[in-house]
């Protein structure tokens, strides 16, 4: 049975179609979710896609965080629902305090779109089980507010707790501390990622198909859940 993955569309979400395509290509079923609803429609996992929710006015993700759907999503995530926030989705997860830290303006002050090499640091999360520890991927990155920031204590916690999911390799495109490209919560079910795996799922349109693993991982995680439950 293929898992049902909800994809939330906020006003200003841009990569929601791409996320749905990636979910489909990973043999899961994409379920569109609307920011104004509170019903998660019993999905097995949720993707917060990239974009400029509410125009990124005020602060990236700061307004989306108060959307009705988040009232249901936050507690569900705290109860273990797998959630992947990509780019703007990552920013929303930080604003919602499901993940620590914040994404600020790139150190170069420009929007950066490039094929970025990253290294998977944690293969135990709901979204990275398909990868091998230390595996390097090439995935597009495209953001202007992608510089990961956090206090020294938080960074230390993330490092010691193995909660840094992926790091930039070769080039740090936005000045993120500790080359952080993605982090997760303690349980590993909530992952925030600045690069866009949904843009690396087809050889025709992406630099690689390295991104598929994120969406394929969810099946294994859910299967694990079922085992644990039984």
């Amino acid at each position: 049975m293929s898992s049902r993955v909800g994809i939330v569309t906020f006003p200003g979400s841009l990569d929601d179609r791409d996320a749905a395509r990636a979910v489909r290509l990973a043999d899961a079923e994409p379920v569109p979710l609307w920011h104004g609803d509170r019903d998660l429609q019993g999905v097995d996992a949720v993707v917060l896609p990239g974009g400029f929710s509410y125009g990124d006015y005020l602060r990236c993700g700061a307004i989306a965080r108060f959307a009705p759907i988040m009232e249901s999503l936050v507690p569900a995530a705290e109860d273990g629902l797998p959630v992947l926030g990509i780019c703007n989705g990552f920013q929303i997860l930080c604003e919602s305090h499901l993940l620590p830290g914040a994404l600020t303006r790139n150190t170069g002050l420009h929007f950066v779109c490039r094929d970025q090499r990253i290294r998977i640091e944690n293969t135990e999360t709901a979204w990275t089980r398909e990868y091998a520890a230390g595996q390097e991927l090439v995935i597009p990155i495209k953001n202007i507010d992608g510089c990961y920031n956090a206090t020294e204590e938080t960074l230390a916690e993330l490092e010691t707790g193995g909660r840094i999911v992926a790091r930039y390799v070769d080039v740090n495109p936005n000045g993120s501390l500790h080359d952080i490209a993605g982090v997760c919560n303690e349980a590993g079910n909530v992952v925030g990622l600045m690069p866009h795996p949904e843009h690396a799922v087809e050889t025709l349109t992406g630099p690689t198909t390295d991104g598929l693993g994120f969406f394929a991982s969810i099946g294994a995680w859910l299967a694990g859940d079922l085992v644990a439950a039984s």
Binding site: P11, G12, G51, F52, G55, F111
Partner: protein
């Protein structure tokens, strides 16, 4: 009437059109004369450019047209010099009245009872005879609101009064093409690409706003062209931009270029449209007049085409999107000078401000409205906003419309009706909706948090009537404003300096004398601003969003997959998508070629775009264009324009690719110095299977390199002459459209048969630059040998040529294809190694090439 703006900006004040406003004319002595020397005394008065029009300070005016008719977007008219007996003092008093007594509104009734009241028509850019014609049409003097409407609708930008007589050729010479679904008077042409899919695309200029306020000027340029595409019922799927600036090392270029790039990126990225290609050119002639041309392409099903018309009495007129504010009111009259000087700062507020977030909501909201069939007619609001939308929708419908201006949602409650009519506030659309559908229409707008308001309805009459505070302030036959503007046959003659320019050929320029100088020249060109790597710019654009980008810059053309999602089951328009259908787009221009010969220059721009599209394996199908020129009041510029249009129309006929629409941008000049005539041509191609696309990248070790086409000794207007000597003279390369067609057929068939490993067109910088780009793109070198004069072989810019890497074993098949098509072909070498090597002459390691190619822009822009 616009007395609330700062004194200096108020065109109704003597100081406006006085010394400050009139100053630019001083730099255009000829401009004050032409009506005296008008040749067409036989023309009806209304078709003559009178002194006041000719004396108008110039503004970049852009006219938008499709194959046979022309849809208008607008900037308000330029303020004109003082006409004889316009009762300036009274006019000024009249303006002040309005400010001091906000309640006092000029109504149709007052206009009838007070026929003699002097009006500031000259300050609004209307000539004496144009004003007289308005009075004749109405049988009375216009109200101030009617005057506002006519002044913007009859401006150069909206009425294309100088270009119309020439643009007619695009329709007259249009090749028979079953592909053209819509070309007539809509916001953009629509082309059939098969399997029930259609494509609409168009390019528009935003040159002067981008110079005054680079970020917002460029951003709103993108926003405007995207709304044109939505208005056709299409989902916008990509944007491109063609940019031209002064010298790369000029201080002002470092002010304008980064702002323009940030504006295009900031708007396009936030809107979620991939930027898949374009141009970046530096030339001193654009120093104070950059060119910012933005293209948008949209995809739709045949059944989904929308029209800009308001038929059906009783239907409601709904304004939706952003509120109406004071943005860009009389934008053009404030930006009225082509001479940008210390006043620019003062002019800044007249540039509109964009809100890409609202535009994104407008896109999704409009597409949902279309899907539910709730829209009878639709029009985007660009410049001239409500004046343009109401007159055009009404004129294209039954003619009758009633609008209650009080109902227009305002961001600034102090706006007067004339200002509401002229406001260029962004992110607005106007729809005509059947009464039964209004409720659902408003529901969908509410879902997307897009404000929507019923402001009027279609009537069975023939006039456009607008009320304000219960009084009628506009009552006109809409067609007289929208379609029956003045038409000028401006005088034209070749520029005086053309013969000497053409006589000064590049043949006299010293050429590289030995192998080492050839090697240096290869690197010199690869590092020159026009040919250097553009990643500094393109990495600021999102090329991935929507997930259908197959090729993007620096490839020859942008290539998009179209039928990722199969058409809906209830779609009767054709079989489901096969997953391979795609479109290719290229945007090209060459101002140096056009300066030397505008007829050939326009054809060469089309040739290059056509070749670029074919180089990806796509079949060229249709053409759009943005014609950037100086002042039409300069007979030399008008000649360049006439020749360029004729050349483009003839070439489109020869290639069988119809012009689906485009845009004219006049008054691109500083003082009396015009830019090089710069027709920018966009070609759309269709790809039957994008999985067989061709890339420029050399990635197949051992693949044979073949040169297709004939190389002649052609250096007039070449990149080599420009880079090495800053020389412009002689004649541009010979145009050979038959050869372009033959080359394209080989490339398209070669791609379909899968015998090619790479293909790259030869253009600026010739074979040398093409090899540099293909080697660096694929990370593989090549070894070539050239029998003839290595300088000519490497740097000549002869047309109808491409270099291809052939899959091992397919050389014979390619030779057969070329022979059948009559395309000269010869083997020049092989792909491989880590250097670009010309046997017996030189070898350049890729690392050295890459360094030279990549450091240029970052060094200039930081």
């Amino acid at each position: 009437m616009i007395g609330e703006r700062p004194p200096g900006d108020d065109p109704t004040r003597p100081s406006g059109p006085g010394p400050a406003g009139a100053e630019p004319n001083v730099t255009e002595p000829a401009a004050t004369e032409p009506n005296a020397t008008e040749p067409n005394a036989t023309e009806p008065p209304a078709t003559e450019p009178p002194a006041t029009e000719a004396a108008a300070p110039t503004t970049e005016t852009t006219t938008t047209y499709t194959a046979t008719t022309y849809t208008a977007t607008t900037e308000a008219a330029a303020a004109a010099g003082e006409p004889p007996g316009s009762g300036r003092a009274d006019a000024d008093a009249d303006a002040d009245d309005m400010v001091e007594a906000p309640g006092a509104v000029d109504t149709v009734e007052i206009a009838r009872n007070d026929p003699g009241r002097p009006q500031p028509y000259a300050e609004l850019g209307l000539a004496d005879d144009e004003y007289d014609r308005i009075r004749a049409i109405l049988g009375r003097r216009p109200t101030s609101a009617e005057l506002a409407i006519y002044s913007v609708m009859w401006s150069e930008h909206c009425s294309y009064k100088s270009s119309k007589v020439h643009l007619r050729q695009f329709a007259a010479k249009a090749p028979r093409s079953g592909a053209l679904l819509v070309g007539m008077g809509e916001n953009a042409g629509v082309v059939d690409i098969g399997q029930g899919w259609a494509v609409t695309f168009k390019v528009e200029s935003h040159n002067h706003p981008s110079y005054v306020e680079p970020y917002q000027g460029a951003a709103t340029g993108v926003g405007g062209i995207v709304r044109d595409i939505i208005a056709m019922g299409a989902r916008p799927v990509a944007v491109m931009d063609s940019l031209r600036f002064g010298p790369a090392d000029a201080r002002d270029t470092r002010r304008v270029l980064p702002g323009v790039v940030a504006g295009i990126g900031g708007y396009g990225n936030c809107l979620g449209l991939p930027n898949i290609g374009g141009e970046l050119v530096f030339d001193p002639c654009y120093a104070q007049n950059p060119l910012v041309n933005a293209l948008c392409v949209g995809v739709l099903r045949h059944a989904d085409i929308q029209r800009a018309a308001a038929p059906g009495p009783g239907n409601k007129v709904i304004l939706y999107g952003s509120g109406t504010g004071p943005d860009g009111i009389g934008g053009a009259s404030v930006l009225a000078s082509a001479t940008f000087d210390e006043e620019s700062a003062r002019k800044r507020p007249s540039v509109q401000v964009g809100d890409p977030f609202m535009e994104k909501l407008l896109v999704e909201c409009s597409l949902e409205l279309f899907r539910e069939g709730l829209v009878v007619g639709i029009q985007d609001l660009g410049a001239a906003g409500i004046s343009c939308a109401t007159t055009e929708l009404a004129a294209a419908g039954t003619g009758g419309m009633r609008v209650t201006l009080d109902d227009v949602p305002l961001r600034d409650p102090t706006l007067r009706p004339e200002e509401i009519l002229m406001s260029e506030s962004q992110e607005r659309m106007m729809a005509v909706v059947a009464p039964r559908d209004v409720e659902r229409f408003l529901e969908i707008c509410a879902k997307w948090e897009v404000p929507a308001t019923v402001i009027g309805e279609v009537t069975d009459g023939t006039s456009l009537v607008m009320t304000w505070r219960g009084q009628v302030i506009v009552d006109i036959p809409p067609g007289t404003a929208a379609d029956e503007g003045p038409v000028y046959e401006r005088p034209y003659e070749p520029p005086a300096d053309l013969p000497s320019l053409q006589a000064d050929g590049a043949g006299r320029l010293p050429r590289p004398g030995d192998a080492d100088e050839l090697r240096k020249t290869v690197l010199w060109l690869a590092a020159s601003p026009n040919l250097a790597d553009k990643s500094w710019l393109t990495s600021q654009y999102d090329r991935y969003v929507l997930g259908n980008t197959v090729l993007a810059m620096p490839e020859d053309a942008g290539l998009l997959r179209v039928d990722d999602v199969p058409p809906p089951a209830d779609d009767q328009d054709g079989q489901p998508g096969q997953g391979g259908l795609g479109i290719a787009l290229s945007l090209d221009g060459n101002g140096r070629y056009a300066r030397l010969d505008p007829y050939a220059g326009a054809q060469l721009a089309l040739s290059e775009a056509y070749r670029n599209v074919a180089a990806t394996g796509a079949r060229p199908l249709a053409v759009t264009n943005c014609l950037n020129f100086g002042s039409p009041e300069d007979p030399g510029v008008m000649w360049q324009f006439a020749r360029a249009v004729e050349g483009l129309a003839d070439a489109c006929q020869a290639l069988g690719t119809p012009v689906t629409g485009g845009n004219v941008s006049f008054y691109n000049q500083t003082g009396s110095t015009a830019i090089n005539p710069t027709p920018v041509i966009g070609v759309l191609g269709v790809h039957d299977d994008v999985r067989r696309r061709l890339s420029m990248a050399f990635i197949t070790e051992g693949a044979s390199l073949m040169l297709l086409g004939e190389t002649r000794e052609e250096f007039g207007g070449s990149e080599w002459a420009h880079v090495v000597y800053g020389h412009l003279g002689g004649l541009p390369p010979l145009v050979d459209l038959a050869a372009e067609q033959a080359l394209a057929s080989v490339l398209v068939t070669g791609a379909r048969e899968g015998i090619l490993a790479a293909a790259h067109d030869l253009s600026d910088g010739g074979l040398s630059q093409a090899l540099v780009e293909s080697c660096l793109r694929g990370g593989l070198g090549c070894r070539i040998s050239l029998p003839g004069d290595p300088f000519v072989e490497l740097f000549s810019e002869s047309v109808a040529r491409a270099v291809v890497a052939v899959r091992p074993g397919a050389e014979g098949r390619l030779a057969a294809l070329c022979e059948a098509a009559g395309v000269p072909v010869r083997r020049i070498g092989v792909v491989g190694g880590d250097a670009l090597e010309l046997e017996n002459f030189f070898s350049v390691p890729l690392a050295e090439l890459r360094q030279a190619h990549q450091v240029t822009l970052p060094n200039y822009m930081g």
